[in-house]
């Protein structure tokens, strides 16, 4: 047996999950993009003649999945299995595998399609076109999504010498999560105890490798659903040879990508057009250098966080100015929609000239500087009601306030200094 076990590892498509956009047209285009992502994934699996498609959970949003999109999934999975590709589907938090869930009532293909059981971990044998076993996929689905433990200990040992792949939907403690989800957790050490060659992980919406030996990857979302899931999204093309290290290659499948561009060096931007040019440059840097996948041209949803001094700040504070910026960017084919955040934007002021001076502005800057360190002062500055942080703990309130203090020095200077127009 010399054929490497080749499969596509994807997760977290969250089909029919909401896209947080105000524009109905943009939401529709994003929903269409999600459907195209599914079809594109299937096309690619068939064209690459992979042995299997491993879905590490959260293929769809159980509550919101429409019958039409359910049918789309069934159709595409049928097309895939009829094309000779084995599908291993693990259920996650959004599409739990319990009996009352949507997945249980769906008429999945009967050949080469395997829904991993939520009751127990099971092994799926993957064969090639000649019927030879090329790999084994071992995993389980989440029953309700509320399980505290991923229960990797229950995973059986591979029953053959072929490359074995483990599937988990959950958080891996010790894998660098900033704020790990307490549900369905697994320990990093457990991943190395099973003798698997590769771990196909789902749940984290950040594509990353969590372990080198054995190789364990979060595939990231198949398509992003907000600015918290930035950059091009897709799946991992994995090739596990009989001997040697597996090869993992990312391929983009989502035709849209979300990206937050923080533009902090705008002091040379005299007008909105210059800001737009700066945004384009930033986008060019954020875009992948090579993007050759057949998913079509990549369209961007941008959040522009304009920060720092900018001569065009007065224009950008007006709705017309922001509209001009948005229009200028969406006029390009590559940009679908733009959010412009100007909370940190200010006119060009020389803070150093006023810092430490015995006047109101100098003292205001001093107070702001003190507030970053002085909790008592921060509490004193806090209004009785913080609209954006209701009912939080004192620490949470202080943390929230300190976030707000960022950039407030320039805003203070802008408010207190007279402008040439005599304001």
């Amino acid at each position: 047996m010399t054929t490497p076990f080749r499969f596509v590892h994807c997760a977290d498509l969250h089909l029919d999950a909401p896209f947080p956009r105000r524009s109905e047209a943009v939401r529709r285009r994003l929903a269409d993009a999600a459907r195209k992502t599914v079809s594109g994934l299937v096309d690619r699996c068939l064209s690459q003649r992979v042995h299997a498609l491993v879905v590490a959970g959260d293929l769809f949003d159980d509550e919101r999945l429409t019958p039409a999109d359910e049918q789309l999934l069934l159709t595409e999975m049928t097309r895939l299995t009829e094309g000779g590709v084995t599908v291993v589907l693990a259920h996650g938090h959004s599409d739990p595998g319990h009996a009352a869930g949507r997945a249980a009532s769906m008429r999945w293909p009967t050949e080469r399609f395997h829904r991993l059981s939520a009751e127990r971990a099971e092994e799926i044998v993957v064969r090639d076109a000649d019927g030879e076993v090329v790999g084994r996929v071992i995993g389980r689905s989440l029953a309700s999504g509320q399980e505290p433990d991923a229960r990797l200990a229950d995973y059986p040992e591979p029953s053959g010498p072929e490359p074995a792949v483990g599937v988990v939907h959950g958080s891996v403690l010790g894998a660098g999560h900033d704020d790990p989800d307490p549900r369905a957790t697994a320990r990093l050490a457990e991943l190395g105890e099973k003798g698997f060659r590769y771990w196909a992980l789902g749940h984290s919406h950040q594509r990353r490798r969590v372990l080198e030996r054995p190789l364990a990857w979060y595939a990231g979302p198949l398509m992003g659903h907000g600015f918290a899931e930035p950059g091009p999204c897709g799946a991992l093309m994995v090739s596990v040879p009989a001997n040697g290290a597996p090869k993992v290659t990312f391929e983009r499948f989502a035709p849209v990508a979300w990206e937050t561009l923080r533009l902090a060096e705008l002091s040379a931007c005299e007008d909105v057009a210059a800001v737009a040019a700066a945004a384009r440059r930033a986008l060019k840097n954020a875009a992948p250098a090579v993007d050759t996948h057949a998913a079509g041209p990549l369209r961007w949803l941008l959040r522009l966080e304009l920060d720092g001094p900018c001569p065009a700040a007065p224009s950008l504070r007006t709705e017309a100015g922001r509209d001009e910026l948005v229009w200028s960017l969406t006029g390009d084919d590559g940009v679908l929609d733009v959010d412009v955040i100007i909370d940190g934007l200010s006119s060009v002021v020389d803070l150093e000239a006023h810092a430490g001076q015995p006047h109101l502005l100098g003292l205001s800057l001093e107070v702001l500087d003190d507030a970053l360190r002085d909790d008592a002062l921060l509490d004193r500055l806090a209004p009785p009601v913080l609209a954006g942080c209701v009912g939080g703990s004192p620490d949470a309130r202080r943390q929230y306030m300190r976030r707000l203090l960022s950039g407030l020095d320039r805003q203070a200077a802008e408010m207190l200094l007279r402008t040439e127009t005599g304001a």
Binding site: P20, R380, M415
Partner: protein
């Protein structure tokens, strides 16, 4: 640090300004006129301390126009010892150097070290005061200033804290308010989200319902499947009873019919309609025989036509000649009539010729005369006749001319005879001269007589000269009188001379008026008489009566003299007339000869023509016309003669051809030859008809013969077929070999087969799948299934089927309803879409709330900063400001305190403090302001490193206040150097004398040379432009 020296190389309008040894003077007064550069000097000093702002030469307000560098130097004396020199220059970039002793350091564009923490803005806000800062401090302005001053915003570049806080609060409220009294943007967003929440509930319900409907649809589908299976079974049973059994029975009947037919006629290979075929063959044989007979008859007819055609060969041989003759028969008749007409015309023309010839000819026209007439050239004759007529008129003209020439000669001879001779002519000339002399003397004499007569009557005529003399005289008198009057009234200088002149003028005037005409002006009677005698004598000599008019005699003499002057002309006229007579006489002879010659020419032309002598003697154009008429008639006669001859020739030729044809065709030639034409035409017509029929018969005969052959062959075939068929039919009746009996058996067998086919067709129509049904029925029969059902069971089965069909229909209706609902719900807004918009709104709301919180926190920060300023700076500043105020007010105002949100002054002798805003005069408020600003400067720079720069701040202060101000300045200058700029010389002197101020002067502002020159140039141009007009 005290300023020791400034040296300004170039700074705005200042150049080469240097003042030294300043450090020992705490108070320096810079005096200069307006626009002399006082403010520029203070700017320069600020810059020397802090560096250039802006740091680009092109942007700097003090940059010289010529683009040269800004450059200045200042030396500060360190109280600890030593001087520090600051050099700054701005050209391409801001340069700065600081030299202290031997240490020379580059400070770039940075402030000097002793500026400490005070920024340039703070320094200029506190240490530099100008007139504007103290001007216009009314109550409202003061309140604003007070608020800023007490809150740490007492700088011009800062906005008042109250204004900023109000704006921040307004912004925050516009975004979100906890009390919900104002619908902020957050509130509107919340409303939108609430509406979306309802939409979400709806979408969620729709999604759940959609799944329920889909599930229900699946259940209905399952039920429908079950129902269909049961229904199918029942229907199969009914089908067996209602379909398979009839099918089976019909199939059995069909089989029976076909079996009987096979027994009667085992093998039916005969045509379908045998009886009809037999009848048809018999009819065909009869028809063919009849057609054959008809064709034979037609062939005979054609043969006859061919035979008959040979009878007409003779006329057909000459068909062309006959046709030509027949075509000319009508013309021949016309020619005959025409010949008769021509004969009649010829006779009438002969008669006309005789009639015309009677007035011209002397006899009848024989052939020679006719030939002569025919040869005659009438043109030539006409020319000769005209020549004769010309010749005949010539003698008459010559006679007339000769007559007029002779009359002219007679008149000329008579004129010559009447001319005077030479002597007579001389006499006439003399007499004419004498008559003219007499005439002139008569005129003079008449004038003289007229004057004499007037003189005698005393009526001296008022001549023009007399009038002028009178006017001159009166003028002289008036002038003299006027001169005298002027002398009397005006007192002339030279009375005597004036009097003499007046008297003289009047005297002379009177004389002029009185002067009478001279003797020379009067007529001379003697001369008149002498002249009268002379005239009488001349009349007598001229043989004239005394009163006879001279003019007629003078006219007579002039006429005669004129006649005598024309003598040569008259004599020439006479000679010419005589010569002309001779010429005409010769011409008369020549004309007679020419007339004779012309007549001879006419005779010659008419030779051979017997023209009457009378016409020959006077041959005019009428003779020519008559001859021409005769010639015309003769030509007509000749033309008609020729025409008749041609006609007669053609007629004879035709008759000859007719005669020849008649003889050739054997026709009767007893009458006129052309009388056979109708007979020829008849015979030709008959011959042509016979030939056409023969040709047609010849062409049709082979075809007819072919047809008759084919008919005979078909007849044979039909007969053979009929016989064969009868034989086959006879074979079907083995008993009698009777074709008719055989035919009847055949028809019976065929009827059974047809019946079987019809049954099969009906079966197919009722059951398209009858073959399968038949097989199914046979199989069921073989399987032992009972195909037939009792009636009760059939009824029961039908009822069950009906019930099941009703249930299925109901199920379909329910399923349709569910599908419609499914379709409707699928078109509703999806939950994900609502959640997406809701999430976007929540993000927006969160940003909005954060913006509100940021604004509120910023307001709190500013309030905290304001509180810090008050805590840190207010007590010291107010204490120090109270001291300044006491000095400035001469001790009247003792203390400055804070009352509420405002300032108040504690005055000497007053129990209660007086609020600055609303309680103090304007000048008192200026003192408070000055005190506060300087106190603040001292508070922030307690060591006095930085100077106080005052730009004309005391310009509006009166003398008593200036005295207090002098004390105050000296007090302040004791702690820091004060530089006061002023344009008031008196103020400088006062401060110098009272406060020991050191006064330095700035040079007077330079006149704008370029502008003056330009103005002069413009003025000069204006003058030069105005000069031509003046």
């Amino acid at each position: 640090m005290k300023l020791q020296r400034w040296d300004i190389a170039a700074w705005g309008g200042l150049a080469g300004i240097r003042h030294d040894d300043l450090a020992r003077h705490p108070l320096i007064v810079v005096r200069g006129d307006n626009e002399s550069g006082k403010s520029t000097l203070l700017d320069c000093l600020s810059t020397l301390l802090y560096g250039f702002s802006p740091a680009k030469l092109a942007d700097h307000p003090a940059a010289p126009w010529d683009g040269s560098a800004l450059e200045g130097t200042a030396v500060f004396r360190d109280p600890r010892g030593g001087d520090v020199e600051i050099f700054r220059k701005l050209q391409r970039a801001a340069e700065g150097r600081m030299q202290r002793g031997d240490e020379d350091g580059d400070i770039g564009n940075h402030p000097v070290w002793w500026a400490g923490s005070l920024s340039r803005e703070t320094f200029e806000g506190l240490h530099r005061l100008d007139t504007d800062a103290l001007d216009g401090l009314d109550d409202d302005t003061w309140k604003l200033f007070e608020e800023r001053l007490l809150g740490g915003a007492g700088f011009d570049f800062l906005r008042p804290s109250g204004e900023v806080l109000a704006e921040l609060q307004s912004r925050a409220d516009a975004l979100w308010r906890p009390d919900r009294r104002i619908r902020g943007r957050a509130r509107r967003l919340a409303d939108a989200m609430k509406a979306l929440g309802e939409a979400r509930d709806q979408a969620d319900g729709n999604a759940r319902r959609l799944l329920e409907v889909r599930q229900a649809l699946a259940a209905k589908s399952w039920q429908a499947d079950e129902l269909d299976a049961g229904l199918r079974e029942l229907i199969a049973r009914r089908q067996r009873a209602e379909v398979l059994l009839p099918v089976l029975r019909t199939l059995q009947e069909i089989d029976e019919l076909r079996r009987q037919a096979d027994e009667t006629v085992p093998e039916d290979r005969l045509p379908d309609d045998v009886r009809g075929l037999l009848s048809q063959l018999s009819a065909t044989m009869v028809e063919k025989g009849r057609r054959s007979e008809e064709l034979s008859a037609r062939i005979d007819d054609h043969q006859r036509h061919l035979d008959k055609n040979s009878d007409h060969e003779d006329i057909l041989a000459v068909e062309d000649e006959v046709r030509a003759l027949l075509s000319e028969a009508a013309v021949h008749s016309q020619d005959r009539v025409h010949l008769i007409d021509l004969d009649r015309t010829r006779d009438s023309l002969e008669a006309e010729l005789s009639a015309r010839g009677a007035t011209l000819l002397s006899g009848s026209l024989d052939d020679e005369a006719r030939a002569a007439l025919q040869r005659l050239d009438t043109g030539e004759l006409q020319a000769r006749v005209k020549a004769w007529e010309e010749a005949r008129r010539r003698p008459e003209i010559v006679d007339e001319q000769l007559k007029r020439a002779r009359e002219s000669a007679d008149v000329a001879a008579k004129d010559v005879e009447e001319l005077p001779d030479k002597n007579e002519e001389i006499r006439l000339r003399t007499r004419a001269e004498e008559l003219r002399t007499l005439q002139s003397r008569d005129t003079v004499l008449a004038e003289m007589h007229k004057e004499l007569e007037a003189a005698e009557k005393g009526k001296q005529p008022d001549t023009q000269g007399a009038k002028e003399r009178r006017r001159l005289g009166f003028g002289m008198i008036a002038t003299g009188a006027l001169l005298g009057l002027l002398m009397i009234v005006g007192g002339a200088d030279d009375v005597i001379l004036s009097s003499l002149m007046a008297v003289g003028l009047i005297t002379v005037g009177i004389q002029v008026i009185r002067r009478r005409p001279a003797d020379t002006d009067r007529p001379d009677a003697k001369r008149a008489k002498a002249l009268e005698a002379q005239v009488r004598k001349m009349r007598a000599a001229l043989d004239l009566h005394t009163y006879e008019a001279v003019e007629s005699h003078l006219q007579e003499c002039d006429e005669k003299l004129t006649l005598a002057a024309a003598r040569p002309t008259l004599e020439r006229r006479l000679i010419n007339a005589q010569r002309r007579i001779k010429e005409l006489e010769q011409e008369q002879k020549n004309a007679a000869k020419e007339l004779e010659t012309a007549r001879a020419a006419i005779d010659e032309a008419l030779t051979g023509i017997p023209v009457l002598d009378s016409r020959r003697q006077r041959p005019g154009l009428d003779v020519v016309a008559d001859i021409e008429a005769l010639r015309s008639t003769l030509r007509d006669i000749a033309r008609r003669k020729g025409e008749r001859e041609a006609l007669a020739r053609r007629a004879a030729e035709r008759e000859e051809r007719a005669r020849t044809l008649g003889e050739a065709l054997g026709m009767d030639s007893s009458g006129e030859p052309m009388d056979i034409a109708p007979l020829l035409q008849e015979r030709l017509h008959q011959a042509l008809a016979a030939r056409r029929q023969a040709r047609e018969a010849k062409a049709e005969l082979p075809h007819l013969q072919s047809q008759i052959a084919e008919l005979e062959q078909a007849l044979e075939e039909a007969r053979a077929e009929h016989d064969a068929l009868a034989e086959k039919l006879a074979a079907l009746d083995p008993a009698d070999d009777d074709p008719e009996a055989g035919l009847q058996r055949l028809e019976r067998a065929r009827a059974w087969r047809t019946q079987a086919d019809e049954l099969e067709h009906e079966l197919h129509a009722q059951h398209p799948d009858w073959a399968e049904r038949g097989e199914e029925a046979r199989q069921a029969q073989r399987d032992g299934l009972e195909l037939d059902l009792p009636t009760e069971e059939r009824v029961s089965l039908a009822q069950s089927i009906a019930q099941l069909e009703d249930a299925a229909a109901k199920l379909r209706a329910e399923r349709d309803e569910l599908e419609a609902e499914f379709t409707r719900l699928s078109g509703e807004r999806e939950l994900a879409d609502v959640d997406g918009e809701l999430a976007a709104l929540r993000e927006q709301e969160q940003r909005l709330l954060m913006a509100r919180d940021r604004a509120v926190i910023l307001g709190a920060v500013i309030r905290e900063a304001e509180a810090r300023w008050r805590r840190r700076h207010q007590p010291g500043v107010l204490s120090r400001a109270g001291e300044h105020l006491s000095t400035l007010s001469g001790g009247r105002d003792q203390q400055l305190i804070v009352r509420g949100r405002g300032l108040a002054v504690q005055r000497a002798g007053r129990e209660l403090p007086v609020p600055v805003a609303g309680g103090l005069s304007r000048s008192a408020r200026e003192r408070v302001h000055l005190s506060l600003r300087v106190a603040m400067a001292e508070h922030l720079d307690p060591e006095g490193h930085l100077p106080l720069l005052l730009d004309d701040v005391l310009v509006n202060w009166d003398e008593p206040r200036l005295a207090d101000a002098g004390d105050w300045l000296m007090d302040v200058a004791g702690r820091r150097q004060v530089i006061l700029c002023t344009s008031r010389p008196g103020l400088a002197e006062t401060l110098a004398s009272a406060a020991g101020a050191h006064v330095v002067s700035l040079p007077a502002p330079k006149a704008p040379v370029a502008e003056t020159a330009t103005a002069d140039a413009v003025s000069a141009a204006g003058s030069s432009t105005a000069t031509p007009t003046a």
